[in-house]
Symmetry: C2
Subunit: 740 residues, 2 copies
């Protein structure tokens, strides 16, 4: 088997660990078991076996060492196990009280969780956003009680006993899946499978980038790991393959992923749908792969694997940890029934007996509490040391320190917006995708946290930062990221970058229609408050010959309906600059910029300030806020509205032209302002947009007319499609006459 060569080191370390500590053990029995998803051993004797699976055998070997090595000290194994069981029962009890949740993963992953939070990771519970902390992502987010239990034990204020008791309740800080915006100490929002591992790739990219950019031979100011736990579900999702292929390509050596290999998914044994060789796939993706065969009690195996992973600096590491889902539950372990439901009172009792747990629900034994209590002072110490280090850095490298500080505080440099380009009607006509590139290249000079790229369309999306090279394995200090044709992974990686530090402003790009490939990641941006900038070009039938597979129709509407996201469709240079201003300022709300492939004129009346209001008048020959008709356009169709207005005015009509570049921003304006743009008394309204008319009734009212496209596009030169689809000045004029 392909991965076998990777295993020798962890096994050697394991043997050494046992050798070193064996003498102090009262009960040592060591062997290297053949692969077994289930072990029978004290204190979990009663776990059931499903016979006949080709991937499981019954093993009687027991791997235990009386005392084990930790990072800082030697902890008695009995205390380790007590701590692990505390985690298990906090999860069991919380799920039981909520009568809802997923106990199986926390029960199986408690050993790796314990080792990570108690022995390996550096963090400061009293300042969970300390910049140089290790990041942890629970990609298998349904197992969130694992993370809540760990945050609770580690001393995070966000997860008190009461919070555990409020698991999955209204306004609790312990929602049903990890949500960074609800629970301080949770880095990213997971639950939708595969997102977390891709976020983690973004976090690790961010660390590698900052380390390369800011570390000095005498001061490695950026230096942390990113740890992930992912499950079979994450592995099956395409997004994880995309992101992990990039992680391998980029050589993200400080990314360490634990694959909870428990052979159970919701529908039963993973054999029914998942028989690929994961080890071999990850080796193909350029990862270092280690297999911990006994994830249930093989604490030293886990520790050795982490050491080995850290020693491999040029590749990310996948530690496949074979565990038993619901470990400790005598009747439900190793079955899908323990995945997503409370155990039930009877089985909770049986599990308490089986694991020798005499305590009340939610109880943390005193010795466990005492043991974990060191993390608060230790964390403060770690941060204080780092602060001192940064003070030294600041002294010696003041310029770099200011940039880095901007990234980790999120404070934008004063006057950054002066870099935004401005345009006059005399400026040359241009595609907004090109104008976007002018903005990106202007902004990158003043925004230290701006970096990003395209899903293999940089030359079409116009996203290259000309003053920078490519972020690559050996040039991670650069700021052009090459995502390949991996839209979904790209979006989730950008979420990770954005959430690494508040001053990061990641952008990513593809054709607007291919937001369909990354919609799940975009939705998480909106939900988790990651201010990613989505640079989406070729935003309509205006792309022409590529045809309906490439022409967005319903996409503007579909994002206008999504909460907490800004859908911006600028019409020209000023509006593109305004869109960037809005996007940069909205650090807790992602922005999507829909940009044209085709050239557009610079329109009189457009402005950055107008864009900031979402909708505004660009021209008007009426008085008293009572035009005969209001023409409303966005993006490439604003030009058509403006041209129609000119013709109508020649015929004596009073016509207002409104640019509705962002519906969300317009909605947020005062009633007075909105009335000044779209007065209630004027029902003669015509909108034009080369996309679905769905939703436009809100703007044009029941007496107005929305011109748009409620069918799929077509393959032909763009001008021809516009004409055939009736997205024309003539159509606007006819409609205006009809409604006014």
């Amino acid at each position: 088997m392909a991965s076998s060569s990777s295993l020798y080191l962890s096994q050697a370390l394991l043997a050494r660990a046992v050798y070193l500590h064996g003498s102090s053990s009262d009960r040592v029995s060591l062997s290297f078991p053949s692969f077994s998803g289930l072990k029978s051993h004290s204190p979990c004797k009663a776990a059931t076996f499903s016979a006949g699976s080709r991937r499981r055998g019954v093993s009687t070997s027991v791997v235990r060492a009386a005392a084990v090595e930790t990072l800082d000290q030697t902890t008695e194994v009995s205390l380790v196990e007590k701590s692990i069981n505390t985690i298990r029962f906090l999860a069991i009890d919380a799920v039981e009280k909520a009568n809802s949740g997923h106990p199986g993963l926390p029960m199986g992953c408690a050993p790796m969780g314990h080792i990570l939070y108690d022995e390996v990771m550096k963090y400061n519970p009293k300042n969970p956003t300390w910049f140089n902390r290790d990041r942890f992502v629970l990609s298998a987010g349904h197992g969130c009680m694992l993370q809540y239990a760990l945050l609770h034990l580690a001393g995070y204020d966000s997860v008190q006993e009461q919070d555990l008791k409020n698991f999955r309740q209204w306004e609790s800080r312990t929602p049903g899946h990890p949500e960074n915006f609800e629970t301080v100490g949770v880095e990213v929002t997971t639950g939708p499978l595969g997102q977390g591992i891709a976020n983690a790739v973004g976090l690790a990219l961010a660390e590698k980038h900052l380390a390369a950019r800011f570390n000095k031979p005498d001061n490695e100011i950026v230096d942390h790991y990113t740890y992930v736990i992912l499950g079979d579900g994450c592995q099956m999702e395409g997004i994880s393959n995309e992101a992990c292929s990039l992680a391998g390509h980029w050589g993200l050596g400080k990314l360490i992923a634990f694959y909870d290999d428990n052979h159970i998914s919701i529908d039963g044994d993973t054999e029914i749908a998942f028989t690929e060789n994961v080890d071999q796939r990850f080796e193909a993706l350029g990862w270092h792969v280690i297999w911990v065969k006994n994830g249930n009690t093989g604490y030293d195996e886990i520790r050795a694997a982490i050491k080995e992973a850290k020693a491999v600096k040029d590749k990310p590491t996948l530690i496949k940890v074979t565990t038993t889902i619901g470990y400790g539950s005598p009747n439900k372990a190793n079955s899908y029934s323990v995945h997503g439901s409370a155990l039930g009172a009877k089985e909770v009792d049986a599990t308490r007996k089986n694991l020798g747990w005499p305590y009340e629900p939610f109880h943390v034994p005193e010795d466990v509490k005492k043991h974990w209590s060191r993390h608060v002072p230790n964390g403060s110490k770690l941060e204080a040391e780092w602060n001192a280090k940064f003070a030294g850095y600041e002294k010696k490298y003041s310029e770099e320190a200011a940039e880095l500080k901007g990234i980790f505080t999120g404070v934008l440099p004063a006057g950054w917006e002066k870099a935004l380009p401005t345009y006059t009607p005399e400026s040359p006509a241009d595609a907004t995708r090109n104008l976007s590139q002018q903005n990106l290249n202007a902004l990158v000079k003043v925004l230290p946290g701006l970096l990003g790229g395209s899903a293999d369309l940089a030359s079409s999306n116009m996203t290259l930062l000309k003053s920078y090279g490519d972020f690559q394995k050996d040039t991670p200090e650069e700021r052009n990221v090459r995502f390949g044709v991996r839209e979904h992974g790209m979006g989730a990686i950008c979420n990770g970058i954005a959430l690494h530090s508040p001053g990061f402003i990641p952008y990513c790009a593809t054709f607007f229609v291919f937001t369909d490939y990354m919609r799940a990641a975009i939705r998480i941006s909106a939900l988790c408050e990651a201010g990613v900038i989505y640079v989406m070009t070729h935003d309509s039938i205006g792309l022409g010959e590529d045809g309906p597979t490439h022409q967005p129709i319903e996409h503007l509407a579909s994002f206008r309906a999504m909460p907490n996201i800004l859908m911006l469709r600028p019409a020209d240079g000023n509006e593109t600059a305004g869109s960037y201003k809005v996007a940069v300022l909205n650090r807790k709300r992602p922005s999507i910029l829909a940009l044209s492939r085709q050239k557009l004129p610079q329109l009189p009346g457009t402005s950055i300030e107008g864009v900031e209001k979402g909708g505004y008048t660009i021209s008007d020959n009426s008085s008293g806020n009572k035009p005969d008709v209001i023409l409303i356009g966005t993006g490439s169709e604003l030009e058509i509205a403006a041209a129609a207005a000119e013709d109508l005015r020649k015929e004596g009509k009073t016509v207002r032209v409104v640019s509705l570049v962002s519906w969300e921003l317009f909605d947020e304006q005062s009633a007075e302002y909105k009335e000044s743009v779209l007065p209630a008394s004027v029902s003669a309204r015509v909108s034009i947009e080369a996309g679905s008319t769905f939703g436009w009734q809100k703007i044009v009212g029941s007496k107005g007319k929305a011109i748009g496209i409620d069918r799929f596009g077509a393959s032909a030169p763009a001008g021809k499609i516009y004409k055939e689809f009736g997205i024309t000045k003539e159509a606007v004029i006819a409609a205006a006459k009809q409604v006014s």
Copy 2:
């Protein structure tokens, strides 16, 4: 390297082929070159080299055989090359005339294209939908001129010379990417990368299923291959990994994929973002992997690889074919500039010189034409033989023949709709996901083409067909498909199944929110007219504790805005049955059924007929089509509207309750019918739906009120969220009083 073991057979066959035919060769020089993306050889001497790439070396070896073995005859290699160059120049000329398109892939893949369509595949050009034809999918859809050229040469009526000249023009049959609904002979719609290979997995699944279900020892009535060409872009997309993992799991031995390994993507060399070991990944996924090192002129290598692939019956095969993108263009070959733009007149001339092509644009030399002309009679013969075989089958196995005929003709069994369950208000309250399962299990007994499954949520989506087992490698005759957690692949596989034969009715399932993972595939369903049934459960905040990552908000709106798709949200048993009736009847339009997790009562007034109209009155105490207020609901909120109406009626109001189960179907009704349900004169309207209000203004008008959710959800028990979000009877009553 992992794949090296797979190579020996193709190399051995190649050696044998050369040995057998070598004696008739005037110029034979054979060696097994080390890996080289570029070969220098006649007649393409001028291709340029990019130096310094670790994956390329310069090889001087030439693999040519004077005469080569074909399926039916021996064709002179000079004619083969002439045919291949014809394909190349048809592509070059069409792109040049359109001044738009992608010449690079057709130029590089012409050899494999020629061998497939001229030597390997069985099809009938005069009946392109002949059931037992081999299927071909160009997953790298941008290279569609390859397929159009092949269809033209093979004698398909759909692609005449004039069609080639109209490439990418308005209303042409040769759009910018392959579209099955525009071009007869194109099986599926590709262009969005990765969709095609996943479609192909669906096509191969369909064949394997039908063969297992209908073939008899004395009559193998179902027996065809599925061929695909995919590129680097397809490989990078997560969807392809999902689908290929399933293809390996299912052992789809008759799926043969050619990976056009040309090292160039739009942004340049694939090295900037794609350095994984594809061979090894596919071996990990359970595929047989063969490497054709010289895809440019190694015709025998290609042939040998296909033979080898066919010999491997328990695994799908990936044939990695190393080619030169834009082969033959002296200045643009092997560069991204040849990927997606016309060569330009000068380079076209240079290519004509380089490849020795003296002909006018669009010319097919007589000997090439003559050579290909045999496919029309041969195809008729193949079909006639099969028809005779089917006649024998029908005679001996009449029952099976009737079922199979239903699948390949698409004619539904008479009276099938009688199987739909019906409900009365006294029927027990139930979740619509459970009612959906009753429908599926009733329908599978009468619809031979119904099959499907869930993305690892069968027990939550309630999609198991109880009278069938699992479709698996060794039980492919069964009808429950286990997709694993691979929503995107699932959707595209179902598109492939639907387009395999018109009588297939594939369904697939996940939580409604995870349509975000598969939206690109759903959009292709709508575009390519694949009547897939999307069974989407847990359709609102009503799922409760899993929280906002799992609660759809904008999803109903986002699909209502999508063309050619039915978004159905049934409220109870009758409406669920009605939704299935609609979904089954709409074979050229996909349906999405949004179904509840929570129990819902059987409401008086609901009906299958009502659902067929999209919107209808379920109760009304007014007369003269003039109620005081109209309450409009969908799905789980129709119950709330009905309850509010009861209360309002007690207060003396006349109230109509309308179920708007499908906006699209309602839109299609006559103006009279619509007026009878939502009379223009009644502006007092209140809608209630546990989702975004976006779009509802069209229904409730500017004086009405839409009750919905314009924020993300929350983690808490469902009842609590409904109350806190104001999705209540009380809110409806208050709004009704406000507007009436």
